[in-house]
Amino acid sequence: MQKILNIIRGLGNRTIEFLWRFGAMVRFSGLILLHSGMSFRRISLTIREIYFSGVMSLVIIMVSGLFVGMVLALQGYETLQNYGAQEQMGVLTALSLVRELGPVVSALLFASRAGSAITAGIGLMKATEQLKAMDMMAVDPIARVVAPRFWAGVFSMPLLAALFSFSGILGGYLVAVLLTGIDAGVFWGNMQAAVDVRYDIVNGVIKSIIFGIAISIIATYEGFDAEPTAEGVSAATTRTVVTAALSVLALDFMLTAFMLRTAP
C-alpha cells in the first residue's frame, strides 16, 4: 500500500514540477519580450550574439545539409528507378528538404551547437555571480544578457534553415546530375513544377522561425535557471539539448498537421 502511494506521489511530484517549469518558462518569455528594448536600441549587442549563434553554426549547417541532400538523392534513386521515375529525384530531394528536413534538422543542429552554448554561457555567468553584479549596478541581466541572445536565435534560425535546404538541394543536384546522369534541365524543371512557393517554401520558413523561438526560449531559460555550480551548469546544458530536440520534433508534427493541404 505504502509503495503504491509513493509511486502516485512521485507521479504527482513530477507533474507539478513539469507544470511549474513550464509556467516559469512562459513567464520568462514574457519578461524577455518586455525587456527586449535594449537589444534593438543597442543593436551591436544582438549582432555579437548573431555572430556567435548564427555565423559559428554556418559550417556545421552547410556541411550536414550537403550530405543530407546527397544521401536523399542516392536513396531516392535506388527506389525511384524501380518504377522508372528517376526524373522525380529533384522533386523528392527538394520537397523533403524544404518542407521537413531543412527546418527540423537545422533546428536540431542549432539546438546542439548554439543552444547548448547559450545555456552554458548564461549558466556560467550565473555561477560566477556576473548576473548578480549586473543587478547591483542597476543593469537588468534579462535586457543585457538574455534578450539579445533570444532575438539572435530567432533571427538566425530561418536563415540557417534556408542555407541548409540550399546546400542540400545542391548536394542532391551533384548526385543526380553528375553521378546518376539525370538531365539537369529535367531535374530543375520537375522540381519547379512540383514545389509551391506559398505552401512549401513559406511554410518551411514559418516552421523554422517557430523552432528558433522555441529553442531560444528553452536555451536562455535553462541557463538563467541553472544551479550556480559546475554540475548545475552541465545538467542545464544537457536539459537544453534534450528539451529543445523533443519540442522541435513535437512542434514539427503539430505544425505539419496544420499546414498540409488535406482540405480541398
Partner: protein
Amino acid sequence: MERKTYDLWVGLFVIAGFLALLFLGFQVGGYSEERSTKTYNVEARFENIGGLKMKAPVKSAGVLVGRVNDIHFDNKKFQAVVTLALDTRYQFPKDTTASILTSGLLGEVFIGFDAGGDEKNLVQGDNIKLTQSAVVLERLISQFMFGKAAEGTDKK
C-alpha cells in the same frame, strides 16, 4: 574580436541567408509573376468531374491558360459546377468545348479547351455550354467486358 569584424561576418551571413531564400523561391519553387496577372471567371457544368481538384490547370493546345478556382455541386440539376479563372491575355469563342482530360494514364487531371468558331468571346461570368465529362476508367472497362460477354452469347 573587434566590433567591425562581427558586423562584417553577420552582414555576410545575412546576405548568404537571403540569397539562399531567393534561390529557394526562384530556382526551386519556380516563382513567376503568373499569379499576379488578371483573370476572368467562367463557369462550366459537368456530369462527372472524376479526379479534378482545385488549382488544376486549364490548358488549350497544351498551353496553360488558367486554373480551376472553385468546384461545387448543384443540388437541383445534380451536376458539378466548376469555376475557371482564365488569364485575360487569352480570349476564347463562346462555343469553346471544355473537357476533363488526364495527362497519361496516371497523370494529373486537367481541363482542356478546344476553341469553337463563334465570333463572340467568353466574358466574366459566362457559362460554357459544351462540356465533356471525365472518362471513368472502371466504367469503360465494365462496358467493354459486358460488350464482350454479350457478343459471346449472340454467337451461340
